[in-house]
């Protein structure tokens, strides 16, 4: 776990209010990153924003030292990130949290299910799974056409379905509609997205083992403040999303 400065290499508006931010960091900090982990980004220089913003790692490149995140502007912090200029410096804590435990799993066929800003971490996951010879199918859902991103990128790694709530791009409906329609199966599934989607995925995929990546408002991002808890399935104890997660076995958590 490190606190580092990173300089902005590239910032691109890739979909409605959605930005791809590429920063340069020392490669020593990249070698330990696992898909599903996140960075905790400081906003601004002064003290107006005392809380960092958690954003999933979407990609990294050990050779160039580039780390990519994809975020949607939903408030003040992400708006400020979207106004960064090339060469400016941002401060990151990284890598945070537990990623998808793909090293421990024996799998041939993986189903990746993402919604909205839950899509980015699945890209790094898909790349690493493909590198390990796993066959990857992706289902990603968005509100509408203008929100869609990374269809092309995921298609290069395997079959990729896109759903939009209003049907303005590919399939109309929810990610679970496609899963049911196409009777998609896998050894494991991996999902990240809004809670409502994760719930639907959890019940649709009830017979398949899987992993969910959760979101919660965070303070420290490292397990020290107890801001980001979620109950275990038995409602008897909490886990910390930032430290024990954000990825949990689907059987472990009750949404």
């Amino acid at each position: 776990m490190n606190q580092i400065d990173a300089s902005v290499c590239h910032l691109e508006n890739i979909a409605h209010a959605t930005f791809k931010l590429v920063v340069k960091v020392d490669h020593e900090y990249l070698s330990f990153i696992r898909p599903g982990q996140f960075v905790h980004i400081q906003i601004g220089q002064g003290y107006e924003h005392m809380l960092r913003r958690p954003i999933s790692i979407a990609d990294f490149d050990l050779e160039t030292g580039q780390l990519t995140v994809i975020f949607k502007v939903i408030g003040e912090g992400t708006r400020k990130l979207s106004e960064l200029t090339e060469g400016s410096v941002i401060n990151l804590l990284l890598p945070l949290g537990q990623g998808y435990p793909i090293q421990q799993l024996s799998l041939k066929k993986a189903l990746l299910i993402g919604g909205g800003i839950g899509v980015p971490p699945l890209y790094l996951l898909a790349k690493q799974l493909v590198d390990r010879g796993v066959s990857v199918t992706t289902v990603i859902g968005f509100q509408t056409k203008d929100d869609v991103f990374y269809h092309e990128e995921f298609s290069q790694l395997g079959k990729c379905y896109v759903t939009t709530n209003d049907g303005s791009y590919q399939h109309k409906g929810f990610v679970t509609d496609i899963i049911n329609l196409e009777q998609l199966t896998a050894d494991y599934y991996f999902s990240c997205g809004p809670t409502a989607m994760l719930k639907a995925v959890q019940s649709t995929m009830v017979n398949c083992p899987g992993y969910l990546s959760l979101e919660e408002r965070m303070g420290c991002g490292i397990g020290a403040c107890y801001a980001c808890v979620i109950s275990n399935a038995e409602q008897t104890a909490y886990k910390k999303i930032c430290q024990d997660g954000p990825v949990f076995a689907a059987s472990e958590v009750s949404l």
Partner: protein, 305 residues
């Protein structure tokens, strides 16, 4: 090189900097960023008699130059804390100040006695900002009589010095400070958070599941400085100051106001190295402002100093 040591009841501090309770858990996480040996002391997360799950989420919200939290005293209970958390901390050269909370005087007494008997902690920090269930939820810390009573009862069972942590949500902080001093408090710790709220425009409802939360961070610093300044003039026991500290100059401002040491909470979230950075910068910062020792600074903002 300026001597940063400070001596307070029960506490020999290498320097006057410690993390504030609830913002640093039991130290393990921040020890990944720097060695806890560097700190003057540590104020650990609140302990209660039984485990508590705390409040539903969302538990935090950002505000201008501050944040709201409504963690709700989540902790594994005093016995588990002593067994599972303190051994790690005891491996450091680091006075442990245990923050204790409760919903009744009996619970405070139980937790205080258990911690003090464990011999693992150097001092207790009595968090009297908790709602008193027996008195219908009014906070222990807002009524001078109840504040004094819980202090007295905890002092009876504690073998280590007791610092009472005052709530700023009161009309007259000096009255409460004098009451707990008279009841035997060895020191004061101030301030806890101010009660605040944020409303989410999308849901149109309070953003925190608990509706209200405690406001901390730089936003509240002027209130903390004012309260410490006023209390310093009224009491004889030392004060550990906190509320919005981010820099070494903030620390000096607190010491001038009358704090003998300080704690840092919210700023750890922005910069996990903040305590370590401040400890590094404090000597040169003191020199820059013409101080030659920590003792010169403490209370130096008052006219008779």
């Amino acid at each position: 090189m300026i001597d940063l040591t400070v001596e307070l009841p029960g506490l020999k501090l290498k320097n006057p900097i410690m993390p504030a309770s609830g913002c640093f858990s039991f130290g393990q996480e921040y020890n990944q960023f720097y060695s806890l040996n560097k700190l003057g002391a540590i104020m650990i997360k609140a302990a209660t008699q039984e485990p508590r799950l705390g409040n539903p989420t969302p538990r935090v919200a950002e505000t201008h130059a501050g944040m709201l939290n409504a963690i709700g005293l989540q902790n594994p209970g005093v016995t588990t804390i002593i067994e599972e958390q303190l051994p790690f901390l005891q491996s450091f050269d680091l006075p442990i100040i245990a923050n204790i909370a409760g919903s009744s005087i009996e619970e405070y007494v139980y937790v205080a006695k258990t911690l003090s008997d464990s011999a693992a902690v150097a001092a207790l920090e009595l968090n009297i900002s908790c709602p008193n269930v027996k008195e219908g939820g009014v906070q222990f810390g807002t009524d001078p009589h109840i504040a004094a009573e819980v202090t007295r009862r905890v002092k009876e069972v504690s073998k280590v010095p007791v610092y009472v942590k005052l709530s700023p949500n009161v009309t007259d902080i000096v009255e409460i400070a004098l009451a707990v001093e008279a009841a035997g408090a060895d020191g004061l710790s101030m301030i806890n958070t101010l009660t605040g709220m944020k409303i989410d425009l999308d849901t149109r409802k309070p953003l925190l599941a608990n509706q209200v939360g405690g406001l901390s961070g730089p936003a509240i610093k002027p209130i903390a400085i004012r309260m410490i300044y006023q209390v310093y003039q009224a009491v004889k026991i030392p004060i550990i100051g906190m509320g919005g500290i981010v820099t070494a100059t903030d620390v000096i401002e607190y010491l001038l106001a009358g704090a003998s040491a300080v704690a840092i909470g919210t700023a750890n979230f922005q910069n996990p190295l903040v305590c370590s950075d401040i400890i590094d910068q404090l000597p040169s910062c003191l020199t820059e402002y013409g101080f030659t020792s920590i003792k010169d600074v403490i209370g130096g903002g008052h006219d008779d100093n």
